[in-house]
Amino acid sequence: MQVPAPFTYERAGSVDEALSLLGRYGPEARLVAGGHSLLPMMKLRLARPEALVDINGLAELDYIRVDGDHLAIGAMTRHAAVLESPLLSEHYRIFAEAERVIADPLVRNRGTVGGSLCQADPSEDLSAVFAALRGEVVIRSTGGVRRVPMREFHVGPYETAVGDGEILVEVRVPIRTSVGSAYEKVERRAGDWSIAAAGAFVVLDGDRISDVGLGITAVGAEHFTCAEAEAALVGAQPDDEAVEAAAAICASSCNPTVDQRGPEDYKRHLVSVLVARALRRSIAVARVGSSRGVED
């Protein structure tokens, strides 16, 4: 029987209370949201916090809404809510496409956006989605609020910019028009972590790509993206040549590890195929959207 090592359980009723509990217990306290990454790690003693602060009751952090020219997603939003959100699908189909292949429906009922990002697993999908979309996270402490670009959020595997005594409260994504987006993932079996996955958004201005974002996970891509490939695409015509060139840059610049999910050359090949597919589908959607003003 696997059970976590002993800890003290506390339940927070508000963000302020959660911050106060984190302050009381110090750096050995951890927040727990859905718990579907943290509790398995605690069972294996890969994590051994002295106190868990349960934030499942923080309804104030459970929302998906338009906030000015951004989409704002509360940290306690469950994966299932992201998958089913008409608002997110209207702007970026990358969300539903990624969520559909994150774990399984039961895990998606519990797992949260904030929890997934803060766990910072190097194979996590939403990290790639928000990196592609150039989102930013909002972090609160008793000292105030600060914002961190998604591409500076991950400090390393399982490490983020969220410090002791801080809570990630929101993720923000700019709203774009004439945009298409897509997510492509290959896993060994339904619900598993990626062998490799890639997401993209493309904004078209006439016959040129005017803005683009790429997200890549599970293969050691720096900041879950590839800035060099993005730079090569901006200003280019959205044709096969540009797509293939960008995909090749992604494949050569990532750093896949050899493990039971496959050898290095296979993973690089997957990256090139998945980036190309995500870009092609994004371009196709953006073409439709640019004639209608919104993503189809």
Binding site: M1, V3, P6, Y9, K43, D54, D104, P105, A190
Partner: protein, 166 residues
């Protein structure tokens, strides 16, 4: 710590270790062994119960997290008669060893409450967090379809009976 959890409509309460998992609260503290304890890694879904109306994996949920909330387990499916989902698993041979069955049925009940007429793809997606080591998925899908048909028929006959009275 002291927890109070509504289980199948009945209030339960116990002094527990903070680290106790919900599956062990049900099985060991309450002695309700209908909920199965399988992989312990939130992969297999044998431990699936409802928490505040949503199916979750109870091996990855602390009993403390359910404090003040409501849980429904497989023991709570049956009313005066078997739930159509339970009857469907009998009619269509939806189980072999039976280990995955409680989790499968809790997911099936949640699915049919939300979507009374799911197609096969929807059923397969709904049970994709539940593993059957006998690989009896074909019959599990049939069992859930049987339950959907049964409910539709029963609903119709109930409505007809009501209309006849009126």
């Amino acid at each position: 710590m002291r927890v109070t959890i509504e289980v199948n409509g009945r209030e339960t309460s116990a002094d527990i270790e903070d680290r106790l998992l919900l599956v062990h609260y049900l099985r060991n503290t309450l002695g309700m062994t209908g909920t199965h304890w399988g992989c312990d890694t939130s992969n297999c879904g044998a431990c699936t119960v409802w928490l505040d109306g949503l199916p979750v994996k109870s091996c990855t949920t602390l009993a403390a997290m359910a404090d003040g909330r409501s849980v429904r387990s497989v023991e709570g499916l049956e009313g005066d008669t078997l739930d159509p989902v339970q009857q469907g698993f009998i009619e269509e041979h939806g189980l072999q060893c039976g280990f995955c069955t409680p989790g499968m049925m809790m997911v099936a009940r949640a699915l049919l409450d939300r979507d009374p007429d799911p197609d096969e793809a929807t059923i397969r997606e709904a049970i994709s967090g539940n593993l059957c080591r006998c690989t009896g998925y074909e019959n599990i899908v049939r069992a859930i379809r049987w339950a959907a048909r049964k409910q539709a028929e029963t609903g119709r006959s109930d409505r007809e009976a009501e209309e006849a009275v009126l």
